[in-house]
Every structure is written in structure tokens, then in C-alpha cells.
């Protein structure tokens, strides 16, 4: 666990989001500081995934604001009203926020190495040789130093997810988002992905992790956030959560899942 005393990296204030008639986020506020690892738990349909997808503007929001490193995400202030930002600046904002998806979403027509170098070369304009060198280091770091030239289709789920983590890290993001990164994995490979994530947390990466892996939350999280029905109903340290949660709903949820 890292000490979370740095500056605020992500600040969400009263975020509302609806899909048609269904209100999925009913005013979510959360601050995440530098070097902090925050786990978001909660039953399915509680809005956890939607919330982190809003943080890199893969989903629009109805109201509220989300800032990363002090910069408003997805919108610009127009006399107190929020107007959606241009595609160009949204893309630029996203380079600061790494995302790891439940279903990996690796590029199947590119090798592991090419998956990792793609965005640094074509988005950031890093020279190819430097991008390749950095990608090799990253792939080694996630334990795939021998899989550079392998296509995703030939990798196991756990290996694919580790490539996906390396791919996101290659952009040197200020914040990493994990959307249920182990939910689509076979039980025997979950551990290898969690290990990589724990290492990242201990090295001081700022992370927001939506997960059902309570073991990971206990081990690596500085703070656990419980969401239910579009709201954050409780947050605190893992010890608080797993020994004496305040909220009845949290107790119910944990008793079912543990």
C-alpha cells in the first residue's frame, strides 16, 4: 500500500448520467489522490462501470463535472454551462487516462509488441525505435518478455489482459482505470493479472479499479468505495470495510460475495 497524500488526480463532482429513462448515476462524487488505489465495489447495475467509463468520456454525462489533473474531461465551461468538447481535445485528455477493459480489447491484427507501440507512435509521435524499446520493457514488466511477436489470438486470457495493461501504461498515464479486469478470465489465470496490478499499486500508480476481487481490494486498495443504485453509499479503508462496514447494504453485499 502506498501513502496517499499527493495532489488530487481525479475529482468527480455530483456526476449524473442516464441511459434513456434509466438514471444510472445519481450524483456521484469522488476524489482520488496521486499514488492512491481506489477499488469500487458493488452489485451489478450499481453504476460502477458506467462511472469509470465517464472518467475518460467513453460515456457522456448529464451534469456534474469530472476533472483529471485539474482539467475538465469531455466538456468545456461556456458561461457556467457545460458544452461537449471537441473530438481533438477529448482525444488529448484521454492520453492521460489509461483504461483496461473487461474483455481486453487488444488489437487482434497486431502483435503484442505492436499493440503496445501503436498509440505512443501514432498518437504521441514517439520515435518508433524508442517506442519499441519502452514496449519491450513494459512487456517484460508484466511477465511477457518472450511474447513480443505473438498475436493476441495465440495468447491466453491472462496474457492478453497483461498485454492490455502494458498497452495502457505505454501512454504514461496519470491515472489508470480498470473495468472488472479479471471478470472475463478463467479462475486459474486471474492471479497473474492481479499480481501485476498489485505491483503497479505498490509502485505508486494512481488507480481506480472496479472489481469483484475482494482479496485484491483488501491487499492493494488504499480506499474502497461501495456503490449501489447509482450512488456511492460508503467509502473507507479496506480494514473498515471488511471488519465493520457502517451500511447495512454494504454488509449484505459483502456477506454474499465473501
Amino acid at each position: 500500500m502506498s501513502s496517499a497524500t499527493g495532489d488530487v488526480v481525479m475529482r468527480a463532482t455530483d456526476v449524473h448520467k442516464r441511459f434513456g429513462r434509466l438514471e444510472v448515476l445519481k450524483g456521484v462524487s469522488l476524489e482520488v489522490r496521486q499514488r492512491e488505489t481506489v477499488c469500487i465495489i458493488g452489485p451489478s447495475g450499481s453504476g460502477k462501470t458506467t462511472f469509470i467509463r465517464c472518467i475518460n468520456h467513453l460515456e457522456k454525462i448529464e451534469s456534474g463535472r469530472i476533472e483529471v489533473n485539474g482539467q475538465l474531461i469531455g466538456y468545456r465551461d461556456a458561461n457556467g454551462k457545460l458544452r461537449e468538447d471537441s473530438e481533438r481535445s477529448i482525444a488529448r485528455q484521454r492520453t492521460q487516462v489509461g483504461m483496461v477493459f473487461q474483455r481486453f480489447n487488444l488489437f487482434p491484427h497486431k502483435t503484442a509488441l505492436e499493440n503496445v507501440t501503436e498509440a505512443p507512435i501514432h498518437v504521441l509521435g514517439v520515435p518508433a525505435k524508442q517506442a519499441v524499446d519502452e514496449a519491450r520493457v513494459l512487456l517484460t514488466r508484466v511477465g511477457l518478455g518472450d511474447k513480443h511477436d505473438t498475436y493476441p489470438g495465440k495468447l491466453s486470457g491472462g496474457q492478453q489482459q497483461r498485454v492490455a495493461i502494458a498497452r495502457a501504461l505505454a501512454m504514461k498515464p496519470a491515472l489508470m482505470l480498470f473495468d472488472e479486469p479479471t471478470s472475463a478470465l478463467d479462475p486459474e489465470v486471474i492471479g497473474e493479472v492481479l499480481t501485476v496490478m498489485e505491483e503497479l499499486a505498490h509502485e505508486g500508480m494512481t488507480m481506480i479499479v472496479v472489481t469483484h476481487e475482494m482479496g485484491f481490494a483488501r491487499e492493494a486498495a488504499d480506499r474502497v468505495v461501495m456503490m449501489d443504485d447509482g450512488l456511492i453509499i460508503e467509502e473507507g479503508t479496506p480494514e473498515h470495510f471488511f471488519t465493520a462496514p457502517d451500511h447495512e447494504r454494504t454488509r449484505q453485499f459483502l456477506s454474499k460475495i465473501l
Binding site: 482525444a91 487488444l106 504521441l124
Partner: protein, 256 residues
Amino acid sequence: MHVLVAIDWHVIWLRIFHPDSAFARALWATIYISVVAQALGILFGLVAALARMSRFAPFRFLSGLYVLVFRGTPVLVQIFYLYFVFSWPTLNLGFQVPGEALAGIAALSINEGAYMREIIRAGIDSIDRGQMEAAKSLGMRYGLAMRRIVLPQAARVIIPPLGNEFNNMMKTTSLVYTIGVYELFADAEQGYSQTFLPDYFLAVAFWYLVLTSVWTFIQAGIERRLAVSERGDELTLRERLLAAWNPMTAWGRSAR
């Protein structure tokens, strides 16, 4: 009904084994018209497919109108209209491209674009949404993500039906004979009109068959190269050719 003239093997022999310079010119016209019209057709289809998926409603409308009109009317009508409504100049690109050929290319490519739009759109639709999301999450803009991530994957889906389209295109070019382009069919028709021997048509059928067969080889090669990587279930060139030549599976290669 009875056969008016017995097959004149001598004519067929001459047309196949002793092609003259007029034939060479006609063959070249058929080839360049079909290649250029198909290439432009892909381009128009791509633009129309992207317009169809645009967030801007007028683009979607125009794309729909384009397909409605050009798939809903005979290509022969389109060829005639475009030929007579504009005055087409002769181009000199080292070889002469007469105005009729330009008009033919224009009509065939615009018509083809309407069909290619659907093929390209289906190809793009077949790619998981997560690919675009992953690309965006890495800071790619829509155009870059399309170009580097989505379209290369969609190409695998697009290439087989595209091959069939080109096969059709080579045969459909015969229609531009009607506006005076000297291509394969015009060459045959000229031979016929001087002798009234239908064997000229039999001989030209053979040449079309040669063109489409050569294309089948090329297409098999392209598909094989595209199949490299990914799932590891790629067919060898030989398997693809066997599948292509098998009359039961020819042109229906979605089986695998």
C-alpha cells in the same frame, strides 16, 4: 429452333491463338476500365459507408439516397445518361483514354460504390465495438482509429465479397460497348458484324473466362495473406483454390 451455323473452329483458333493488335487494345481497355472503376467504386463505397455512420443527419440521408438511386436503376441507363449529359474529354496518359471510356468508368464506379457501401458497412459493423473504444481510450481520434484499427480488421471481412464484385465488374464492362468504347465485347461484335459468325462471341467468352480465372488466383492469394496471424485457422493457397474451383462452393466462401 435449329443451329444456324456450325461452330467454325478456325475462327475460334484464330481469335484465341492469334490475337491481333485491335484485340490487344480491346483487352487492355477491358482491364483498365474494370480496375479503375472498381478502385473508384471502393473509394465511393467507403465514403458512403462513413457518411452512413455519421452523426450528421444530412450525410446519412445523402448516403441513403445514393444507394437508393444507383442500386435501384439499371447500370445501362446510368451509363447512357452520364455519357450523354456531359461532354467527356479524351485523356492522354501515355495511352489514349477516350471520353466514352471515361464516361463508362464514371458510371460503373458510381454504380459499384452503391454496392460497395453495403459491403464495407457490413465489414465495419462486424468489428467489435470494443476495438473503437480501446483505440479512443488510447487517445486516438475517430479517423486514426478507423484507419489503423477498425478498417484493417474489416478488410478481412470485406475482401471476399469485394472479389466477387470485381469478378462481376470485369463482365459488366461489356456494357460500355454500347456507348462506343472499344473493349473486348466491341472487338467480338465487330468481328461478328463483318462475317455473321457467332463464333466470335464464343471466343470472347473464352477471354472473359481467362480474366475471371486469373482474378480467382489473385484473390485467393490476397485472402491468404490477410488470413495470416489472428486465429491460426488460415487455409493454404491450395485449399483456397480448391474451394474456389469447386462449383458447389465457388463464390460462397463464407463457409470458413
